[in-house]
């Protein structure tokens, strides 16, 4: 028997570079030979609105009474050229999500929830469904590269038209709806054989570049007799130039979607590595509008990771006119709810992490075309939940605005904000908390 002293063991150490998730993806790729496809937006930790704080009123500024003094929340969108601009009661809108990616009951619930609080919903690839039009008092019709289900009658039925150039989850990428979700109804709307993988083009088929876009926007205006606001939606990459070109092309409204914005299905590598966070995109976009003398004349809607009223208030303070929510709206409807944990486990995942929306097996009945699964979503109850959530977002934003002494959400301004990190300070162009330093703008 050895009397040698026992040598202490170092705890096993995982590589920060090759962490468990990374290693498991390498094994999956090696086994299948194909990239990972999933739904949702960027999941990695990114500089975000959490890195900003509001400076409430004190001696130098006075606040407004929470329950007595008015703090307006309404917003008018599209009054640059459109004869019939949109008037929303809250600046929180529902982002474009397709029937096909989402079930019929989910689209209906979005319409019900949004209409209850006086805001808009948006169609997606695949066209407009009667349920959606019927339940949405204000409906924005997306005009996409694929033109699946694109119908001039629906164009005329819409309250606004959104020309989609790109989205934050995949700027420069087209859409994808795998065969599992191409049901009879989806196939008919998109004029495709049932069960085929639907590939959406990444570029519009009949125009390229900003000069063509100007003519395209003019065509849509002519067709709709200059009545409807025309939005242009871009994924956040080069926001200064994209916003300036959209304005030049004649947009009434620009929609800017950061990389946290969700998608129905795209390659993981695309979602996590292309595009920039919305925090980094808003100020350059606003700068472009200001340089053109069009801030507040062409409205800016931002999206990608809006979760609460503080995010809404911060986006508006940085210069946006409104925000759009997608992922958060789905969670409000019932997506990824812990009460379905057992069913998520059967799919090899867990509540809160389920993102294989393209497979069409969503136990919550939201991202599916399975007739049995979609029955699980009660559109009336889910719509109520969404309406409640939208109300909370609006009220939370008002709480912050009143604390900053603002009688309307649009009176929030960058001067109300400071940043907690250097990154956020540089991106949002507000001072690092406790200093007057904005990296890249002022000296420390």
């Amino acid at each position: 028997m050895s009397d040698a002293p026992k040598i202490p063991q170092t705890e096993p150490r995982y590589s920060a570079t090759f962490d468990k998730n990374t290693a498991s993806e390498i094994r999956r790729a090696a086994a299948t030979g194909i990239y990972d496809i999933r739904g949702a937006g960027a999941k990695r930790k990114l500089p975000h609105f959490d890195d900003l704080l509001f400076l409430g009123a004190s001696i130098s500024r006075y606040p407004l009474e929470g329950y007595r003094e008015k703090c307006g929340t309404d917003v008018i969108l599209g009054n640059r050229f459109a004869k019939k601009p949109i008037h929303l009661k809250t600046p929180v809108t529902i982002a474009g999500m397709s029937f096909g990616a989402l079930s019929g009951p989910a689209k209906e619930a979005l319409g019900r929830g949004a209409s209850a609080v006086g805001t808009s919903t948006t169609t997606g690839d695949g066209g407009m469904t009667p349920e959606e039009r019927g339940q949405s008092s204000i409906l924005v019709y997306q005009y996409l590269p694929s033109r699946y289900g694109m119908n001039p009658d629906d164009l005329r039925k819409a309250d606004a038209i959104e020309v989609v150039i790109g989205q934050g989850a995949k700027p420069g990428g087209g859409g994808m709806l795998l065969g599992q979700k191409i049901s009879d109804r989806v196939a008919k709307m998109r004029c495709l054989p049932k069960g085929v993988d639907q590939r959406s083009a990444c570029r519009h088929p009949d125009w390229t570049g900003p000069d063509d876009l100007e003519i395209k926007i003019a065509e849509i205006r002519e067709i709709t007799d200059w009545e409807k606001p025309i939005y242009v939606k871009v994924g956040a990459t080069r926001p200064y130039f994209d916003v300036a070109l959209a304005v030049k092309a004649g947009a009434d409204v620009v929609v800017l979607d950061g990389m946290q914005g969700g998608t129905a299905a795209t390659q993981e590598v695309f979602i996590e590595h292309v595009g920039i966070p919305i925090l980094a995109a808003i100020r350059p976009a606003v700068q472009a509008l200001q340089d053109l003398g069009m801030h507040r004349k062409v409205q800016l809607i931002v999206s990608g990771g809006i979760r609460n009223g503080a995010d809404v208030a911060k986006a508006l303070a940085l210069g946006a006119d409104a925000v759009a929510i997608g992922t958060a709206a789905l969670i409000a409807l019932g997506d990824n709810d812990p009460h379905l944990e057992e069913e998520y486990n059967k799919l090899g995942t867990t509540a809160g992490a389920y993102d294989d929306w393209h497979e069409g097996k969503d136990p919550a009945g939201i991202t599916t075309q399975d007739p049995e699964l979609m029955k699980r979503l009660d559109p009336v109850k889910a719509g109520r939940r969404l309406a409640n959530y939208l109300s909370v977002l609006t009220m939370e934003a008002q709480v912050i605005a009143r604390a900053c002494g603002k009688s309307h959400l649009h009176n929030l301004e960058p001067e109300d904000l400071v940043a907690l990190t250097l990154e956020a300070s540089a991106m949002a162009k507000v001072p690092l908390a406790g200093t007057n330093w904005i990296p890249g703008v002022s000296q420390f």
Partner: protein
């Protein structure tokens, strides 16, 4: 038949298009002639009435875009996206057509007497297109449904990533796109071709001089072994 004439040098386009969007009953059976088009974009877009429109010269982008029901004749040539997303009716270009003619169109008949540029019939979804001359490269890219008849030659990558549209070509084909292949001319396809030749003023052309192309359907569902085809 009542005739109405607009001179685009004197009347703004918006007024002309708004007139063409009048109640269908008011426009029914009328012939509207648009003179001095001068390559103006977006002429006669969004029509939805049984009206005859004659564009007496060259049209710019998107002439007769999203057409429904109406019969539009362009006496000259047409710019990019003529009859884009047409739903029904008939559009006849007597000259040549630029890029993306009939893009994403879901119905109706587009007749082009001359040549068509790049991407003719891109993403077509049910329209019939007859081109008297040749078509440029990438024509019928991702074409989903409908028929593209080409009396002349076709450029590169014809019918790339084709879904269920048919392509009839009489002349030479520079190259076929991914998943596009020659198909035997069955009777159903032959009858469609004969009908379209007749409707487009080419009844004297021998249908047996055409090659039929369709989808090989190997790319309908993604498989890693086909990755090189994309």
């Amino acid at each position: 038949m009542e005739a109405v004439t607009f001179d685009l040098e004197k009347t703004p386009l918006r007024e002309v298009n708004q007139y063409l969007h009048s109640d269908a009953a008011e426009l029914d059976g009328k012939t509207v002639t648009i003179t001095n088009p001068g390559g103006t974009h977006n002429i006669a877009v969004g029509l939805k009435a049984d009206v005859d429109v004659v564009i007496d010269g060259h049209a710019g982008y998107y002439a007769a875009g999203m057409n429904q029901v109406a019969n539009v004749v362009i006496e000259g040539s047409a710019g990019t996206g003529v009859a884009e997303n047409m739903m029904s009716g008939r559009v006849h270009v007597k000259g040549f057509a630029s890029n993306a003619a009939g893009a994403t169109a879901q119905g109706g008949l587009l007749v082009i007497d001359g040549d068509a540029g790049l991407r003719c019939g891109i993403s077509m979804k049910g329209v019939d297109i007859v081109v008297g001359g040749s078509v440029g490269s990438f024509s019928a890219f991702m074409a989903q449904a409908g028929n593209l008849v080409i009396l002349g030659d076709a450029g590169e990558a014809l019918g790339d990533s084709l879904y269920e549209a048919r392509i009839f070509v009489r002349g030479n084909i520079q190259s076929l796109g991914a998943d596009c292949e020659v198909k035997p001319m069955d009777e159903e396809a032959r009858q469609i071709l004969v009908k379209l030749l007749k409707e487009s003023g080419h009844a004297d052309v021998d249908p047996d001089s055409f090659t039929l192309l369709g989808s090989a359907r190997t790319l309908y569902n993604f498989h890693v072994d086909n990755a090189g085809a994309y």
